[in-house]
């Protein structure tokens, strides 16, 4: 007879991020037919009572399960990939999938990578897809977002530390005014907003971030609540660890659609070699719990172990 805690453990094994392979082996593997039947009868969210008198796997759930089993494989493949190919494939997927998140992923890639890393991604995109990244972005996206996204993926920003502080001050003012006048014209349609955000160097934009706070009293991304893409752009460029912490936090909730869940793999795999240490610190500061603990609680099996190993590297 299946023990209640085994039932619970097995239900857990099938829920959350990834699959608890060991539980499946040690519990499910040893169950006799009656125990498996009682599991089916006791799990109405996995099995439906068919009219011909048997408990049938819910189709939708089987499909979800497939994704959960693949989560570990996808993480491994993504991790092993050359970073250029990785970003090119993530970008392509973001363009094809077209969820509300997908444009955010393009912004994430364009704004959190170094100038050379972004260039590398564009090269890999040429090889993989016989088109340029900006060509496909422009072709698949319309309207105001197109201008922002094409410019962001095409940027080859100056990476030195030299900043013209007077220009930064004046551009902070320009941005402030554009945001203030948002009901007359959306900031994303303001050509000066686009110019500043898509062409200036990151140190320059960080100087603008500082000056903006002095003018407005609030941070520019706080004032951009009404403009999600611009907000993401500013966050990715000026406060990337905060941005990644927020994405992780959202991705670690329960009962999510599969695209939101994918962010967990994406962020950890793409940042493990870069600023994972800083992201962990920021995550702790923002949410009062360690990232490792959250992953421990939410993810399963090999997938969980893999993620924890990645984030433990380098301290």
């Amino acid at each position: 007879m299946a023990l209640p805690n085994e039932l619970e453990a097995l239900t857990e094994a099938f829920s959350g991020h990834g699959i608890h392979e060991q539980a499946l082996v040690s519990i499910l593997g040893k169950w006799h037919p009656e125990e498996r039947k009682s599991f089916r009868k006791g799990s109405p969210h996995f099995f439906v009572e068919d009219e011909r008198n048997f408990e049938r796997w819910d189709d939708h759930h089987v499909r979800l399960l497939k994704h959960e089993f693949m989560r570990f494989k996808n993480a491994v493949v993504l991790w092993t990939m050359h970073p250029w190919e990785r970003d090119a494939r993530l970008a392509k997927e973001a363009l094809i999938k077209k969820g509300p998140q997908s444009h955010g992923i393009l912004i994430e890639i364009a704004c959190t990578r170094s100038a050379e890393e972004l260039l590398g991604a564009r090269r890999a995109y040429h090889s993989l897809f016989d088109h340029s990244l900006e060509e496909d972005v422009a072709h698949h996206i319309n309207g105001s977002e197109r201008k922002l996204l094409v410019a962001l993926v095409s940027a080859y920003r100056y990476e030195g530390s030299k900043v013209n502080d007077d220009a930064a001050k004046s551009e902070a003012k320009t941005l402030f005014n554009a945001i203030k006048d948002a009901n007359k014209r959306k900031p994303i349609d303001d050509e000066e907003v686009i110019r500043v955000l898509t062409t200036r160097s990151k140190p320059h934009l960080q100087a603008i971030y500082k000056h903006y706070k002095e003018i407005s009293g609030k941070n520019i991304d706080e004032d951009l609540d009404a403009d999600l893409r611009l907000k993401e752009t500013v966050q990715c460029i000026c406060t990337p660890q905060k941005y990644f912490s927020q994405v992780l936090n959202t991705a670690l909730k329960r009962d999510l659609d599969k695209n939101t869940k994918k962010a967990l793999t994406r962020v950890i795999v793409t940042r493990a070699d870069t600023d994972m240490k800083e992201i962990k610190e920021e995550y702790n500061t923002l949410y009062g719990v360690s990232l490792s603990k959250k992953i421990e609680d939410t993810a399963n099996g090999n997938y969980k172990d893999f993620l924890l190993t990645l984030i433990a590297r380098g301290g």
Partner: protein
């Protein structure tokens, strides 16, 4: 692609550096020596001479040339001695800083160079000016011209030969609609011209010609008071479609005007001497029934003339 530059297969950078040093010594400068050496060295060789000169005399050859020479001759030699990517970065910066941005230079650089060469220019620009090329283009232009120019300089086009016929047809139609309605701020025109690969664009231009019986560049023919954006679009299409014809026209206009446009003349000769200046000369002769050498000799003078003729391939 045929270059006009005549340069020996081997040279001694040390000897060249010494000879140049001799040319600077004493009162006045021996311009002929400078022309006969530098005018016959390719980019790699010139770089070696700069290095040798620095080693021998602890001085930057470029700075020395700037102080020894003057006028159009100096400008030409300065541009010539720079590494090609650095040169284009300088030309772009000069064009941007003009009261009204000389968009032709930006368009030439962004539309004629290969994707990798354009990247090299963007890197050289970072190094020299501590800002990005697109940053400066954007800050000095506005409106539709800004959109077009920034899009062009930031492009990293796919360099393959694959084309999609369906896309060629649909984008030829989009271009045609834009031309018919004269709606040149049409986002789609900028998207197509600045993101598609060169092969794909040429396929679209050919498709255009097949459908409408006239080449797209003829249909964009500009009367002098047409807008800047239209002129810029025209230039971009011509640069992508047939760079040599574009340069022939640029050089023809530079010489034709009352008073030669030395900046344009220097730019074409210096930037194309190691690439396709010989082809441009042939086109020029076909179009004007007089050789480019002859036209340049007639409209310029002194050391400037001698230098240009050397780059054009004149034997000493």
């Amino acid at each position: 692609m045929a270059a006009s530059l005549v340069a020996p297969d081997t040279h001694s950078p040390m000897e060249d550096a010494e000879a140049l040093r001799k040319a600077f010594k004493g009162w006045g400068t021996d311009e002929k020596a400078i022309i006969s050496i530098l005018g016959h060295r390719n980019a790699v060789q010139r770089q070696q001479i700069r290095q040798a000169y620095e080693e021998l005399y602890q001085e930057d050859l470029v700075k020395r040339l700037e102080s020894e020479l003057s006028g159009d001759f100096e400008k030409a030699v300065y541009r010539w001695i720079l590494d090609p990517a650095d040169r284009d970065a300088v030309l772009a910066n000069v064009a941007i800083k003009k009261a009204e941005t000389d968009f032709h230079v930006i368009i030439e650089i962004s539309c004629i160079l290969s994707p990798e060469d354009l990247l090299a220019v963007r890197r050289a620009y970072h190094y020299r000016y501590k800002r990005s090329l697109e940053e400066d283009v954007a800050a000095h232009t506005s409106g539709d011209l800004r959109k077009l120019l920034v899009a062009l300089v930031t492009a990293y086009r796919y360099a393959g030969h694959e084309i999609n016929e369906r896309v060629a047809k649909s984008e030829a139609d989009i271009l045609n609609d834009a031309i018919k309605d004269k709606a040149f701020n049409h986002e789609e025109v900028i998207r197509i011209l600045s993101t598609r690969s060169k092969a794909q664009l040429i396929a679209s231009f050919n498709r255009y010609r097949d459908e409408h019986g006239i080449s797209i560049t003829k249909n964009l023919l500009v009367d002098s008071d047409e807008g800047t954006l239209q002129k810029a679009l025209h230039a971009a299409i011509r640069c992508i479609n047939d760079p040599r014809k574009y340069f022939e026209k640029t050089v023809r206009n530079a010489i034709k005007e009352n008073g030669t446009d030395e900046d344009a003349l220097t730019r074409v000769i210096v930037t194309r001497a190691e690439r396709d200046l010989k082809d441009i000369k042939e086109l020029y002769y076909q179009r004007n029934s007089v050789s480019l050498d002859h036209a340049v000799a007639k409209e310029t003078s002194g050391d400037y003339k001698a230098f240009l003729l050397t780059l054009l391939g004149k034997e000493d």
